[in-house]
């Protein structure tokens, strides 16, 4: 099967290609130096500012590219980033975007090189595993702007961002604790990395607040997207008596399992994850976690356009956005924090505690529905009954001590909060979690 012809043919094709390449080479952009004289209000005299920029004939435009780890059709992580990207793209006419899906970490740097060679000057890499290649490319191209999602490495031209769910998981936990009859609650986890551990712990703290003797049982499936394994894990938890399920996995499989059990006359409830999953479990999806990456993308890109973010001031820029910024939302579908089917049941369960709202109102022994709404207000997202309003302060955090780990050690002193850095490397379970051992 060997042949020098095959070789010769390919070389000829190659040469033809190279020739064509030079023939049809794209036109380059123009670099101009502008000298502006700027008068300052209320000041005598003027300042002269010299700006050198590369402009395309149409005027100032930002070309932003998004690198996705999965396929857009995953109905989970990548889908949510893509929806957000499309929204921001439509909103601004100065913005041009593109995306590359299903990129392996090994190819990320190569894809970034291609994007840069095609004139993209803002690169978003939307997976933790792209951290090192993104940093490498940021160092190699100091004149481009990079944003990495979910990581912890930054550079003067590389910022980080993340929309965190832990407050939402806590609120879901409050509801789970009220709705479980068996006092066994299940959690199907993708990978037990600090982010997921933090979410499970927040969920378990919510459960414990409402139901002191409820336990949260954790199953790790070892994949971000694996509907088959998620389904198996959910079934195995149900067979052990679990009647409420929450999860981290990029498919609606767990919600579907709950719905199937419901249709067989066995009440199993679930919380949706990442995208609206109500249609997969209309009778069982109580609430869940929803994301609005567009809030973050909008903020970042507008600030780049306005010039406040550039290639030399991102070293300390880390978006860690939660409820009060509107980057995450409580609910199994948008604009409905709690499925109306469960509101009455939640209103019938009272919690023995006192809650003080930011405006001074004191709630004595609220029911769980009222408690959830009160906690939302305390965390800066107010549900008016038809829309969300945001306040810029937090007067409550789920990770406030005393918190014990599941070996009985006091991890957080009474009244203290766990800080960002500790939440970002969390490797222990709160007391009511039954989960696999975590390596330090």
């Amino acid at each position: 099967m060997t042949s020098t012809q095959w070789a010769a043919l390919s070389i000829i094709l190659l040469l033809v290609g190279v020739a064509l390449g030079y023939l049809f080479a794209p036109t380059t952009t123009v670099t101009v130096t502008q000298t502006k004289t700027v008068g300052q209000a209320g000041q005598a005299g003027t300042t002269t500012v010299t700006v050198t920029k590369t402009i395309s004939p149409e005027g100032k435009k930002i070309k932003a590219a998004f690198i996705y780890v999965g396929p857009i059709g995953d109905i989970g992580w990548t889908y949510a980033h893509h929806q957000a990207k499309e929204m921001v793209d439509k909103k601004y006419d100065w913005l041009e975007t593109t995306h590359v899906e299903s990129v392996a970490p090994a190819d990320a740097a190569g894809v970034i090189e291609q994007l840069i060679s095609q004139g993209y000057d803002v690169i978003f890499t939307t997976s933790f595993d792209f951290m090192d290649p993104t940093l490498e490319e940021a160092k190699k191209h100091p004149d481009k702007i990079f944003w990495h999602c979910a990581g912890y490495k930054r550079a003067p031209n590389m910022g980080t961002y993340f929309a965190d769910f832990y407050q939402i998981y806590y609120l879901n936990g409050l509801m789970a604790g009220a709705l479980s009859k068996t006092k066994k609650i299940g959690y199907v986890a993708a990978h037990l990395i600090p982010e997921v551990v933090r979410h499970i712990n927040a969920f378990a703290l919510g459960v414990k607040e409402v139901c002191a003797d409820c336990k949260v049982y954790v199953r790790e499936i070892g994949a971000w997207y694996d509907p088959t394994k998620a389904r198996q894990a959910a079934e195995s938890l149900i067979s052990e008596g679990v009647d409420v399920l929450a999860f981290t996995e990029d498919s609606p499989a767990v919600v579907q399992v709950a719905q199937e059990h419901y249709q067989k006359g066995e009440r199993v409830l679930a919380f949706g994850h990442y995208s609206p999953m109500e249609k997969f479990g209309k009778d069982v999806c109580v609430s869940g976690q929803l994301v609005h990456w567009e809030k973050i993308y909008d903020d970042i890109l507008s600030k780049i356009y306005a010039g406040s973010y550039s290639t030399d001031n991102l070293e300390d820029v880390d978006y860690w956005w939660k409820l009060k910024e509107g980057s995450v939302e409580l609910g199994c579908t948008f604009n409905q924090p709690i499925n109306p089917k469960f509101v009455n049941e939640l209103k019938s369960v009272k919690v023995q505690e006192t809650v003080q709202l930011p405006n001074g109102t004191i709630l004595e022994n609220p029911d769980v529905y009222t408690l959830v709404m009160a906690r939302l207000i305390q965390m800066g997202a107010i549900w008016t009954g038809s829309k969300w309003i945001y306040a810029n302060d937090e007067t409550f955090d789920p990770f406030t001590g005393p918190i014990y780990d599941n070996n009985g050690n006091l991890k957080v002193l009474p009244g203290q909060r766990i800080g960002h850095d500790e939440l970002w490397s969390m490797q222990w379970w709160v007391e009511n979690v039954v989960g696999p051992p975590l390596g330090g």
Binding site: L20, G110, E113, S117
Partner: protein
């Protein structure tokens, strides 16, 4: 009247070239339908894919980056396929090589690169070779189907690997004043264990040189040595080989050691040259793609190098289609699939001719 495929007694060079050109043209015509369906001019798409993958600096160097592991894997596979043994588990052998070099890389102190780099490649080769031996022995002694055993050994190692990076090999990484632990990735291998790159590119040139040399050595081994002769006889006529006293076990085990070892070298290159640490998504399928390029390229080193380079270009071109035309990954995979399908199908017409019978 019916049509019958008859094996050609002699493959003419003219036929070879005509069939290959025709299959590429038919493939491009078929794939055009997909681009037309998306409202794109196929000629424009092809022109830009081609220009980007082979006529720009980024495209060329990235195609070479993808070619390096493919060439190593497919050189070994082309050899072992000649013995009639179907090694489907090169991905596992690649992983074995990468894991062994990781263990060495994080342990070794800073030595001269003249000692360090050969040592990394040596352990990678040995580990890949060891992971390749059991299927050969099982087939020779117990007649265990090698398609199953090679593939299953890949899965075994894959899950061991996943366990290690989610557990014992998990890194604690210091960034500034903070230490981050618990994430599913390993330590970054120390700088002195990382392979040198051609300036401005991602081409880890030591692996590139090794890959080219390996493809030549495989050809030499197969055509100029008694071991190669035995491998060819075992592959073309096992009964005759047995009658002539050629050991099937020896021939196939040797071929699998070379094949596994070369895949292991590809793993060393991917870890120490490209990724520098393990993440859950370390593998990107070179061990499987290498099966196709080995089949297309055969054992001739020139044809292997070109086939793998073009395949690398196809991968880079796929990314280009996504970036420029914002086409979904499904279309890109379909495009690559159509090209490979027709090129592979064309091989049939090189070996067989169709005759009409009454």
């Amino acid at each position: 009247m019916r049509i019958r495929a008859v094996r050609r007694l002699e493959v003419s060079k003219r036929n070879l070239v005509t069939v290959r050109i025709l299959s590429v043209i038919v493939a491009l015509l078929t794939a055009s339908l997909v681009f037309l369906a998306y409202g794109l001019n196929p000629l424009e798409v092809y022109r830009s894919i081609f220009l980007n993958a082979f006529a720009t600096e980024i495209g060329l160097t990235e195609s070479v980056v993808r070619m390096i592991p493919l060439l190593l894997v497919s050189s070994g596979l082309a050899l072992v396929f000649r013995t009639g043994f179907w090694n489907i588990g090169a991905e596992g052998q690649l992983l074995a090589g990468a894991m062994a070099s990781y263990l060495l890389a994080v342990e070794l102190p800073e030595l001269s690169p003249l000692i360090l780099l050969p040592a990394l490649f040596a352990v990678g080769f040995v580990a890949g070779a060891i992971w390749g031996i059991p299927p050969a022995v099982l087939k020779a002694k117990l007649n265990v189907n090698e398609v199953i055993s090679t593939l299953m050994l890949y899965y075994v190692l894959y899950w061991v690997f996943q366990h290690l990076i989610h557990g014992p090999w998990k890194a604690r990484e210091k960034v500034g004043k903070l230490t981050y632990g618990g994430f599913a990735h390993t330590e970054v291998i120390p700088e002195h264990s990382q392979l040198p790159l051609l300036p401005g590119t991602r081409i880890h040139w030591p692996t590139l040189i090794i890959a080219v040399v390996a493809s030549v050595l495989v050809y030499f081994l197969l055509t100029r040595t008694p071991w190669g002769y035995e491998m060819r006889v075992v592959g073309s006529n096992p009964d005759a080989a047995k009658a002539a006293g050629i050991s099937y076990l020896k021939a196939v085990t040797l071929a699998m050691m070379v094949s596994g070892g070369l895949a292991g070298l590809a793993g060393v290159g991917e870890l120490c040259g490209i990724q520098k640490r393990f993440t859950p998504e370390f593998l990107s399928g070179y061990g499987f793609s290498g099966i196709i390029t080995a089949w297309l390229g055969g054992t001739n080193p020139i044809s292997l190098i070109i086939t793998n380079f073009l395949y690398g270009g196809l991968l880079v071109g796929g990314e280009y289609i996504m970036i420029t035309y914002r086409l979904p990954i499904g279309v890109v995979d379909m495009f690559n699939g159509i090209i490979l399908f027709f090129v592979l199908a064309g091989e049939f017409f090189i070996k067989y001719e169709l005759r009409r019978e009454k």
